[in-house]
């Protein structure tokens, strides 16, 4: 039976179990709900949980391990000649067998051994399917009858059900931690493999980046230099341009909106500015590559400058536009959190509005603003699509915003999209870059959150 069908059967059985459990509890109490420890619905839920959850777990484990176990059994029955081939060829043969089973195109010729193995595979799969179906349904029915029998007047069904739900809640909230662990482990493991072929010092301090590794030893242009410095220089250059655009505009917009603007202007301008934050980055990338970059190039040429068509300026400028709402809404929050008494004090001394803002509110809000700017910077560093579409691929170590530079994220994307072996240093380099990116943005975030939190404590 198909897995989805099996799941529906289980759901149906659980629904039946719920109904029967409810009825059973009423029968036990002779129809007097008062006598029962819990409401009838809890007895129903109790039975349904016993019916559904263990069976679902069996189903889950079975589907996870099924194909590996069957594959291993099939491999062990293959003729020795095939079994003793090297690992790569063996996986190829296994793939062929699987393709044959599912009716796909097979890479090599189908000989009798492979055909036999495929038949064997198919047979095993059928057996496994039947076994699973029978097992799951039997377990579901057995456990629900068991729990039905255990229903007594003093049975604490509610406590049991609530405990199960609590466990579910705890599992769900642990997913956040699992995700972080997953991220760290996945980038770390591949990075360690990468650092076995390229030393850490060469990676962190190397001045040259050209990740083409040789397939053959005598190949031309297979220098394979993995120095991350030019990538970081490029990332910093583009992020710096972005911050140059975003910080003045975002900050001044926040100041105007919170200190000068009337409620009507605020109610229209703020959401409009925030639209900028909701636009997908791929749209910004398209805008940068097809509208801003040619414009900058043409203007530059008119002024007699040589501008690369994938200049850092175009990518940085558009990234700045994207970040404006982050800076403005974060600064807006901080400025609004400055107590009114500080403003009143300054006005009382005869200061004008702008003097109050510049000399009183801005210094008071500065730590929060710095925190916001750091958060925005970490976004700029991790931003991918704009730079993939509008920045260059060649790693130039330059500070000239009119030249093309490349960034960490661009390199991750170019290294990983496309067909290559998973264990070549070229692919693994992407994970090492990911690790560096993760560490840098994490550090920026921790510092920023720390600054913001410390500042908040002052006024509360």
């Amino acid at each position: 039976m198909q897995t989805s069908l099996l799941i529906f059967t289980l759901l149906f059985l659980s629904a039946v179990a719920y109904y029967v459990g409810t009825k059973r509890s009423l029968a036990v109490a002779n129809g007097e709900i008062k006598k029962l420890h819990s409401l009838p619905a809890f007895y129903g839920l109790y039975t349904a949980l016993w019916c559904g959850i263990p069976a679902l777990m069996i189903l889950l484990l079975w589907t996870i391990f099924e194909s590996t176990i069957i594959t291993n059994i099939v491999i062990s029955t293959l003729p020795d000649a095939i079994q003793n081939t090297e690992a790569n060829r063996l996986t190829l043969i296994v793939n062929d067998i699987k393709n044959l089973v599912s009716g796909n195109i097979v890479s090599g010729e189908v000989n009798s051994d492979i055909q036999a193995a495929a038949d064997h595979y198919q047979r095993l799969q059928k057996i496994s399917d039947y076994a699973l179906t029978v097992l799951v349904i039997v377990v579901a029915i057995l456990l629900s009858t068991y729990s039905l029998r255990s229903i007594k007047i003093h049975k604490r069904a509610r406590n049991a059900v609530e405990k199960t739900i609590t466990v579910f809640l705890i599992i769900c909230s642990s997913i956040a931690i699992l995700t972080t662990i997953g991220i760290v482990l996945s980038v770390l493991f591949e990075s360690i493999r990468f650092f076995q072929s390229v030393p850490v010092s060469e990676f962190l301090f190397g001045l040259e980046w050209s990740p083409q590794t040789a397939i053959r030893a005598d190949q031309v242009g297979s220098s394979g230099a993995f120095g991350v410095v030019p990538l970081f220089a490029g990332t910093m250059l583009i992020s710096f341009i972005a911050m140059l655009v975003a910080v003045p505009i975002g900050l001044m917009a926040a100041i105007y909106l919170s200190e000068y603007a009337g409620s009507r202007v605020r109610a229209t301008a703020k959401p409009l500015l925030e639209i900028l934050a909701g636009i997908p980055t791929v749209v910004y990338g398209f805008f940068a590559a097809l509208t801003i970059a040619p414009y900058i190039r043409d203007t530059g040429e008119a002024l007699g400058l040589s501008v690369a068509s994938e200049s850092a300026l175009a990518a940085g400028f558009v990234m700045g536009i994207m970040i404006i709402p982050f800076v403005s809404s974060l600064s807006d929050d901080v400025i609004n959190a400055v107590p009114q008494s500080l403003r009143d004090g300054a006005y009382g001394m005869g200061a004008t509005r702008s003097e109050t803002i510049r000399k009183v509110i801005f210094p008071a809000a500065l730590p929060g603003i710095v925190g916001g700017v750091l958060l925005a910077a970490s976004r700029a560093i991790g931003e991918t699509m704009i730079v993939v579409m509008a920045a260059g691929l060649a790693a130039n170590l330059t500070a000239n915003p009119l030249e093309a530079v490349t960034t960490v994220t661009v390199q991750i994307v170019t290294l990983l999209t496309g067909d290559q072996e998973f264990d070549s240093p070229k692919t693994l380099a992407a994970f090492a870059l990911g690790l560096v990116l993760f560490v840098v943005t994490l550090a920026l975030n921790v510092v920023a959150l720390h600054v913001v939190r410390k500042y908040r404590e002052q006024y509360e």
Binding site: I177, E190, A253, I255, L290
Partner: protein
């Protein structure tokens, strides 16, 4: 007295300067806001002006004689014969008879390039559906090639030097003949909304990517909403204050700021390499986007739970409800609008996300429309990325049009969130 007067003078003498500074400062603020809004207008107008023309497509009217000799010489009408017959040959023959003066091979090839490759498929589907058409002459509107389309829309300058344009002089002459005979016209581009991707711009559409997006979002929603709400409920209502819950909170805040591409690396390493789930499938896209949107949903749901006043909980506990009953029957329903708003905003983010999906192989060139969450597929933003990379001029307007569709979806989702917030917002 004297010194006092002096101070007043000093204040007064500086007053004009200070007022000017005040005015300047105000103008800076206004300029900043107008610049921000200007960028917004610029972005939208540049995309709309580039993309609106993609909703029309040039068609050429041809009178095609469905020659039995060419497609079914034995008269068997077998499905096999009919499906593999040379329909392109029919169209070519029609073009040759329309312009009998074309004799040279190169000129003939240029002539054939006027209409799309897709013409033969249209013809095939028509004949397969109704084999009685064989032997008759049918008047059909066949999509023009993308270069012809660009010429008709004015994106190719017909006065440019011949070597610099993709449409040559003889082709322009033929097109002009079609124009004078009213046999070429722009019609609503239904292909764009019903087809999958294609190498030929005139045959490409966004439906495949849209279905991929929908499947991916369904997976994301089904996973992230229950998990997000459960996490928020646990952290807000049950969690004891200890190291473990602190760790969870720090984690959630940090995950919200991790670059999206890192989630892609996670998906590649864990879901594809470790669990060997199918590449390019909406299932994996959904899993990765779930992990990405969870922090957004959790943070919004916690805010919603916090806004439900204590008195509600106390009243429920007071009449004898258990803690779990209090939360599920009283607190959660009141917090639900806020949670839904957060979820919709998270879904909108997920819909626009591209980078992590590139990592898990959803960039493949996929023509078929995905049928399930295990089929290889692509999503709207990735389709935009792929088209933006294509060299054909006609893909520029299609990219812009796809962006317009994507932005349309996002605006609808965000408007829904705003309406939900306005409608159910409660001040306690």
């Amino acid at each position: 007295m004297n010194s006092n007067k002096n101070t007043m003078d000093m204040v007064k003498s500086g007053l004009a300067k200070r007022r000017r500074a005040e005015k300047r400062f105000r103008i800076y603020g206004l300029t900043a806001i107008s610049l921000g809004l200007l960028f917004l207008v610029l972005l939208f107008s540049s995309i709309i002006s580039k993309g609106y023309s993609a909703f029309l497509q040039t068609y050429i009217q041809l009178e095609i004689k469905i020659d039995e000799q060419l497609i079914d010489p034995n008269g068997t009408r077998l499905e096999e014969t009919l499906s593999s017959a040379n329909y392109a040959g029919l169209i070519k023959a029609t073009l040759r008879s329309t312009f009998p003066e074309v004799k040279k091979r190169r000129a003939k090839r240029a002539l054939y390039r006027l209409v799309s490759n897709g013409g033969s498929f249209i013809l095939r589907d028509m004949v397969m559906e109704n084999p009685e058409l064989i032997g008759t002459t049918q008047t059909l509107w066949i999509p023009a090639d993308d270069d012809v389309d660009m010429l008709m829309k004015g994106h190719i300058d017909r006065h440019a030097e011949e070597d610099n344009r993709r449409i040559k002089n003889n082709q322009i002459a033929w097109i002009d003949k079609f124009i004078t005979e009213n046999k070429i016209e722009k019609r609503f581009n239904t292909t764009f909304f019903t087809a999958g991707d294609s190498r030929d711009p005139e045959l490409s559409g966004i439906w495949g990517a849209a279905v991929g997006s929908i499947l991916t979002l369904v997976v994301t929603l089904l996973l992230s909403f229950p998990i997000g709400v459960a996490t928020a409920v646990y952290l807000e209502e049950f969690a004891p204050k200890n190291r473990w819950t602190d760790l969870i909170e720090v984690n959630i805040n940090n995950l919200a700021a991790v670059p999206s591409i890192v989630f892609g690396l996670l998906g590649l390493a864990v879901f594809i390499n470790f669990f060997s789930l199918p590449r390019s499938a909406p299932l994996i896209g959904g899993l990765v986007l779930t992990l990405m949107t969870l922090p957004t949903i959790i943070i919004a749901s916690r805010a919603a739970l916090k806004s439900v006043p204590m008195s509600i909980r106390e009243a429920a506990l007071g009449v004898g409800a258990s803690k779990m009953q209090t939360i599920f029957y009283h607190v959660l329903p009141l917090a639900m609008p806020g949670m839904l708003t957060g979820t919709i905003i998270g879904m909108a983010q997920a819909l626009g996300e591209t980078a992590p999906l590139l990592m898990i192989g959803m960039v493949a060139f996929i023509v078929d429309i995905p049928g399930s969450i295990f089929d290889p597929s692509t999503v709207l933003p990735v389709q935009i990325f792929l088209w933006a990379d294509s060299p054909e001029r006609a893909f520029v307007e299609r990219t812009s049009a796809a962006i317009m569709v994507l932005l349309g979806f996002l605006i609808i989702m965000n408007a829904l969130a705003v309406v939900l917030r306005k409608r159910f917002e409660r001040r306690w």
